[in-house]
């Protein structure tokens, strides 16, 4: 069970603090992609008792995941994700399964039996298929390097001496589990595996394995450090908007700091590149695959009212060109923040949004109320009328009609 980033773990704090004593390994040197050989081949099955027990639990867990109503049910998107995993999965390519959970977090995790869960918030942030493939290859790396059982055995060895720490971590696990409800809890076989979050060394291994896998399958390996650059930018923007410092998690975290991962991956990406080979970013394929979900993904993110992160994401997506959807959600992010001057920013974004032909009906509604609120009732009413024409069956149509009569 590994989490692609530890932001959530940092928020829940306790879980990490307790792991620190177990997970901290001094001064990590970069792991060379060339040293990362897959430890499992096609058709791998566990032969030892402890690993069999782990598999058995996770097989039942997969049954629960597969039947969960938190998954995004879209056969086309599922087969797209499956195709990317198959391309970067190395020797395990044929055996990896991907489930897409409807959770607006930048996260993904791998399990020892070869299924991974990708959170929809990941798709919100990826810019192209190469970036996505990097995350999936990182997760595949955990499977190929048998990280779960290695970590579990390491943990058993350590906890035999530090039983008190294990008890503390049980509490931490409970805190982490609070956010995702039963998922994290079941995923962790009670609380124990939550404690068994990977050490930073294993994360570095998965990064090195991942960057090698994507380069070998023809994706541009520099996409992996780019993901980290984006994440650092987002965390900084989020903190700045709330007038705080980004949490420094380097000492306590089970994952290396984003900066050091970005740094190592930048070097590794150059190392795995073959001179003369051309690498693919697959931007059009990626955009086409997520197009039907883009509005929902943005909606999920913006409504969390983390304006720094939301605006950062919107603005990076807008580097490929503004459209009505992005302008509308830019406005929503400002409106939800609601500090002095934000309403004016929001109104400006709504006005820009409705100038695009793809502006969603909600943009016209927001624009209409904005105009009415700034002393332009006639124009406001015509925007609201436009909203009703576009979405006559909207659930709030009765309210908007009432506003028109005022």
């Amino acid at each position: 069970m590994t989490h692609w980033i530890t932001r959530r773990a940092a928020l829940t704090g306790l879980g990490c603090a307790c792991c620190a004593g177990l997970a901290a390994s001094p001064a990590e040197a970069r792991i060379r992609p060339a040293d990362m050989r897959p430890l499992v081949g096609p058709g791998y099955r566990p032969t030892e008792q402890d690993e069999q027990g782990l598999w058995h639990e996770y097989e039942r867990f997969e049954e629960e995941i597969a039947g969960s109503n938190l998954l995004i049910q879209d056969q086309r998107l599922a087969s797209y994700l499956g195709g990317v995993v198959e391309r970067v999965g190395g020797p395990a390519a044929g055996e990896l399964r991907v489930y897409l959970a409807h959770v607006p977090e930048f996260n993904a995790f791998m399990t020892p039996t070869g299924f991974m869960v990708v959170f929809s918030g990941l798709l919100t942030r990826m810019r192209d298929e190469a970036q996505l493939s990097g995350v999936l290859a990182h997760e595949a790396g955990h499977f190929l390097r048998r990280h779960h059982i290695r970590r579990w055995r390491d943990l058993k060895r350590r906890t035999d001496f530090f039983t008190i720490l294990a008890m503390g971590a049980g509490l931490g696990g409970a805190a982490t589990g609070a956010y995702l409800g039963d998922w994290v809890r079941l995923a962790g076989i009670g609380t124990e595996l939550t404690l068994a979050a990977y050490s930073r060394e294993l994360e570095a291994e998965a990064d090195a394995m991942g960057v090698r896998l994507i380069a070998e399958s023809g994706y541009d390996p520099t996409a992996m450090p780019a993901v980290w650059r984006q994440l650092i930018g987002e965390l900084d923007a989020s903190a700045a908007m709330r007038r705080r410092h980004r949490r420094n998690q380097s000492l306590l975290a089970t994952h290396p700091a984003p900066e050091s991962r970005m740094h190592d991956l930048t070097i590794s990406a150059e190392e795995v590149k073959d001179a003369g080979r051309t690498y693919d970013r697959g931007r059009d394929r990626y955009l086409a695959a997520i197009q039907p979900h883009r509005q929902r993904l943005l909606d999920d993110q913006v409504k969390l009212n983390d304006p720094g992160a939301s605006l950062y994401i919107i603005h990076s997506l807008a580097e490929d060109g503004w459209n009505g959807l992005l302008r509308f959600y830019e406005g929503e992010a400002w409106r939800l923040r609601g500090r002095n001057g934000d309403r004016e920013n929001a109104n400006q974004s709504y006005a820009l949004a409705v100038a695009f032909p793809d502006a969603p009906p909600e943009a016209w509604r927001a624009h209409g109320y904005a105009l009415i609120g700034t002393g332009r009732p006639a124009e406001g009413r015509s925007a609201l009328t436009r909203y009703l024409a576009m979405a006559p069956d909207a659930p709030d149509a009765a309210m908007v009609r009432y506003s028109l009569q005022q």
């Binding site: 008792q49 069999q52 058995h56 579990w152 906890t159 039983t163 039963d182 809890r185 076989i189």
Partner: protein
């Protein structure tokens, strides 16, 4: 996922204390099933592991399968003794006339209802409106529809976990107790069982009976019936569902 969170069960165990504990609650009008009836066990969850020296629980695939088979067999026999026929629902596709989606929704509803029962009956968050009402929660019309579609009269939700102390763990326990005599007392938990069973009357939709079982020992070497064996499994079934008591009103009427 639609299972009563483990966390609630284990926390309730804290509230209950150590050793063998069961505490059952019944609807005030509950009379234990008797005679000719059909009972469906909703995807029972069983897990058995070994407690390592450090106190982690490592799942054991072979023990789990053994225990599951034994428990369900023991349950079938126990119910047959009362005249009931038992159908074990192994997966959500496993029953005629009801879609997997409907089964999933019932399980999810039970997550919320079962957690509420544990919170408000076992963990001290008492609700004044339910004082002296025994178990007063329902699974509603959907449970009734499920009963009608399947011809079942009762649904049983069942969860059981068991763990056994490894040799190393037993030694740690022993040290902890010995320490008490020299002023450093740190008793350590060994293996232990945690289980719950909830009975839903599909004719009314009401949860009519709920039992929480917890066994644990701070003493090394003490065990409570090994559910990996048929005898131990029968013992757990007996503790969990065998001693079903009627509801308060029913008992009061019988007492008169």
């Amino acid at each position: 996922m639609a299972r009563l969170p483990l966390i609630l069960v284990s926390a309730a165990a804290l509230a209950l204390g150590g050793c063998v504990q069961t505490r059952q609650y019944a609807d005030v009008e509950f009379a234990p099933p008797q005679g000719d009836y059909d009972l469906v066990v909703m995807r029972p969850y069983v897990s058995v592991g070994v407690v390592t020296t450090g106190g982690l629980v490592e799942p054991r695939a072979d023990w789990t399968e053994q225990a599951r088979t034994n428990l369900l067999q023991a349950l079938r026999e126990q119910q047959a003794g009362r005249g009931g026929r038992t159908l074990v629902l192994e997966n959500r596709e496993g029953i005629q006339g009801v879609s997997p989606q409907d089964i999933a929704n019932l399980e999810r509803l039970f997550t919320a209802v079962g957690s509420s029962i544990v919170l408000h009956r076992y963990m001290g968050q008492y609700l004044p409106t339910k004082r002296r009402q025994g178990i007063d929660w329902t699974m509603g019309e959907d449970a009734v529809a499920f009963g009608r579609a399947t011809g079942m009269e009762y649904a049983l939700f069942l969860y059981a976990q068991d763990s056994f102390a490894s040799t190393g763990r037993t030694a740690v326990q022993a040290l902890g107790i010995v320490g008490c005599f020299i002023g450093f007392c740190a008793p350590q938990g060994g293996g232990g069982q945690g289980a719950y069973a909830a009975l839903v009357d599909l004719r009314t939709g009401e949860v009519v009976w709920f039992n929480l079982l917890q066994t644990s020992s701070l003493l090394p070497g003490v065990r409570f019936g090994d559910i990996r064996t048929p005898e131990g499994a029968a013992q757990m079934v007996e503790r969990l569902v065998g001693r079903m008591r009627a509801g308060r009103h029913v008992r009061e009427r019988q007492g008169q």
